[in-house]
């Protein structure tokens, strides 16, 4: 039923990072059943930078939470790095997956540096000096000034919170990074800087990145593949151009509205290269 536009074939040897198979999500609210996902299939290969887009309430964030194992699907399987998603949250999860929550979710009782170093401290073997050095590298890698290290999260601006949260997600160098609305709440300049940062991290660290976004500029600037959630499943996935060409009312409104045309003109000027 869903004619997926074929993406670039992945190398045979590397198994897919995320496999979602016949996923159903049903929510019960006030005696009513709301089916959010119905037989949703999605496979994400290593090294991809996949954007998930969809209307409000189409269950993008729910999908992200199911990949993380924070929520259980009603039916179906989510396999992440070869294991069921529900086992992802066990010990050492920080070295397998990093998550950037929409509002950062920094630990408000810790300083910036303690937030970043938290997962390393929890290993309880490595010396403090080494952990501090490693956290300082990550802090500067995401473009923060070393002088920010001892601030509390409450004293940071929105853009800095996102950067600290990204540094925290990357502290153990996980192969998979999930982002929930990475540029929401950022001014255009910070959003651009954040995109550049993400793109360079994706290239240099060989990360697999999955992000949920509404921001068309981010979408066109970063994605190697776009998956569209509508009608309770992935209606199409492929390169931004291929997805835009797919006939569906949601895609028409989303990409070919005024905002979409403005953003996609950027795409023509600076085509995505990986």
């Amino acid at each position: 039923m869903s004619p997926a536009v074929p993406a670039a074939p992945a190398p045979e040897a590397i198994p897919p990072v995320i496999e979602i198979d016949k996923l159903w999500s049903v929510f019960h609210t006030a005696g009513q059943e709301a089916v959010v996902h119905q037989d949703l299939d999605l496979t994400i290969e290593a090294g991809e930078l996949l954007s998930i887009v969809g209307g409000s309430g189409s269950g993008k964030t729910v999908l992200l939470r199911q990949i993380l194992g924070l929520e259980q699907p009603t039916h179906g399987h989510v396999t992440v790095l070869g294991k069921p998603a529900s086992q992802l949250g066990s010990e050492g999860a920080a070295s397998r997956v990093g998550m950037l929550f929409q509002h950062g979710a920094l630990f408000s009782a810790f300083t910036v540096l303690e937030n970043i170093a938290f997962a390393l401290h929890e290993l309880q073997t490595l010396p403090h000096a080494l952990i501090r050095d490693a956290a300082m590298v990550k802090l500067q890698m995401v473009g923060l000034d070393p002088s920010q290290a001892n601030k509390m999260p409450a004293d940071l601006s929105g853009g800095m919170v996102k950067r600290v949260a990204l540094a925290r997600a990357l502290i153990m160098d996980p192969p998979l990074l999930l982002l929930d609305e990475p540029t929401s709440g950022l001014d255009p300049e910070s959003a651009d800087a954040f995109c550049t940062l993400l793109r360079s991290l994706h290239r240099e660290l060989g990360l697999t990145v999955v992000m949920v976004t509404h921001d068309l500029d981010t979408l066109f600037e970063l994605s190697t593949r776009v998956a569209v959630v509508a009608d309770k499943r992935i209606i199409v996935s492929g390169t931004p151009e291929a997805v835009m060409a797919y006939p569906h009312p949601f895609i028409h409104d989303f990409f070919l509205g005024k905002r979409g045309q403005r953003a996609s003109s950027l795409l023509r000027e600076h085509p995505v290269t990986v």
């Binding site: 070295s95 997962a119 490693a134 300082m136 590298v137 990550k138 500067q140």
Partner: protein, 376 residues
């Protein structure tokens, strides 16, 4: 799994001594105690003889991450060793670590002058607290005047809501605690009184202590813990989520809409809860007295009015109204002082409960001294 263990092994090379690194040099694997102690001991002997004297062979590493690179960079004493065999990927990782390497921060010492300033800060903080509390009380008085002028426009829906949450929902727990205290007190007293054959005085002891002191105190302490903390948390969360700022922008007076309804509800609910708790405690005491000493409830009822003057009840109701106002004001005070972060919210809630319970006991002692000639 064992072959992935990060290791560092000295081996001889044609041009001198070399170090062969193998396994996964990632944070998670390095943190395995056995692997880490092996690496530490080898690295320590290496740096003792000078890190540059060795040939470092990184080519057979299965994985290297930033933490692993940091371990190496620190072992090299923050400089590139002269002889290094590595792949391009590893080089870029190490280069990034090298680029961002920082000297450790200098430990800052606290001078006597700073300590003095800190003390001053504490004093100002305390003064600020007292000033805020006085301002809150003054505002409540002004709001009460405003309400008295136009009672029809008062926030009565809020008052009734709070009255339900503070008063009605607290009925089961106060009754249970009161009843049990009554039972315990009567049981203990009966042991003592029986020795003197003064069984009938159980009515006087229970009646006076429960009605005058324990009833109001029990209710106040329970409500301070239960509703005082809730008031602080509610207002504190409104600060964290910027709801207080939204109210101010709309020109809605915080004192009139947030503080006054809670204060009124507390001042009304507290005396009622006191009477309720006292009744439950008396019932418990009556039951225990009947079981242990055979003092029948019928006798209890007839003897109670003679043993305890009505002014005791008036005093209890009066002071519990003061307790209620205090708990509401302290709860609101700490709630409004919460800073927009979760840590401050937790501290504020704790401080609110501790302060209101302490204040209730202090004020009760004050009442005991001032009204020592009444009702006894």
């Amino acid at each position: 799994m064992a072959e992935n263990t990060p290791r560092i092994t000295p081996h001889s090379m044609p041009d001198g001594s070399g170090l062969l690194l193998s396994g996964c040099w990632t944070a998670a694997r390095l943190a395995e105690p056995a692997a880490w102690s092996q690496i530490q001991s080898v690295l320590r002997t290496c740096s003792a003889s000078g890190a540059t004297a060795w040939t470092w062979d990184l080519r057979s590493l299965q994985r290297l991450d930033h933490t692993g690179a940091q371990v190496l960079w620190n072992a090299w004493g923050h400089q590139w060793p002269a002889r290094l065999l590595l792949l391009d990927v590893q080089h870029s990782l190490l280069a990034r670590v090298a680029q961002y390497a920082m000297p450790p921060p200098l430990a800052t010492r606290i001078s006597a002058w700073q300590l003095f300033l800190r003390l001053g800060g504490r004093v100002w903080f305390l003064i600020d607290h007292v000033r805020d509390l006085i301002r809150l009380m003054g505002q409540l008085l002004l709001d009460a005047v405003r309400l008295a002028r136009s009672p029809g426009k008062g926030p009565w829906r809020d008052v009734s809501g709070h009255l339900y949450h503070i008063g009605a929902t607290a009925l089961p727990i106060t009754a249970l605690v009161g009843f049990l205290i009554g039972v315990v007190l009567a049981y203990l007293m009966s042991q003592q009184l029986r020795q003197f054959g003064a069984d009938a005085f159980i009515v006087n002891i229970l009646g006076l202590s429960l009605i005058r002191e324990l009833g109001p105190m029990l209710a106040a302490i329970l409500i301070a813990g239960r509703s005082g903390s809730a008031i602080t948390a509610q207002i504190g969360v409104m600060r964290v989520t910027e709801e207080l700022d939204a109210m101010r922008v709309m020109g809605i007076a915080q004192g009139y809409r947030l503080v006054m309804p809670r204060a009124i509800a507390m001042a009304l609910a507290m005396p009622l809860l006191t009477v309720w708790t006292t009744l439950a405690a008396l019932a418990g005491g009556m039951l225990a007295a009947d079981l242990t000493m055979g003092v029948t409830p019928a006798y209890f009822f007839t003897a109670l009015p003679d043993a305890v003057e009505v002014s005791n009840l008036t005093l209890a109701v009066g002071k519990s109204m003061v307790f209620g106002l205090l708990i509401a004001l302290i709860g609101c005070h700490y709630g409004l002082r919460v800073k927009p972060n979760t840590e401050s919210l937790g501290q504020g809630t704790t401080a609110s409960v501790v302060t209101s319970i302490t204040m209730v006991i202090l004020v009760d002692a004050l009442f005991a001294v001032v009204f020592k000639d009444i009702g006894i």
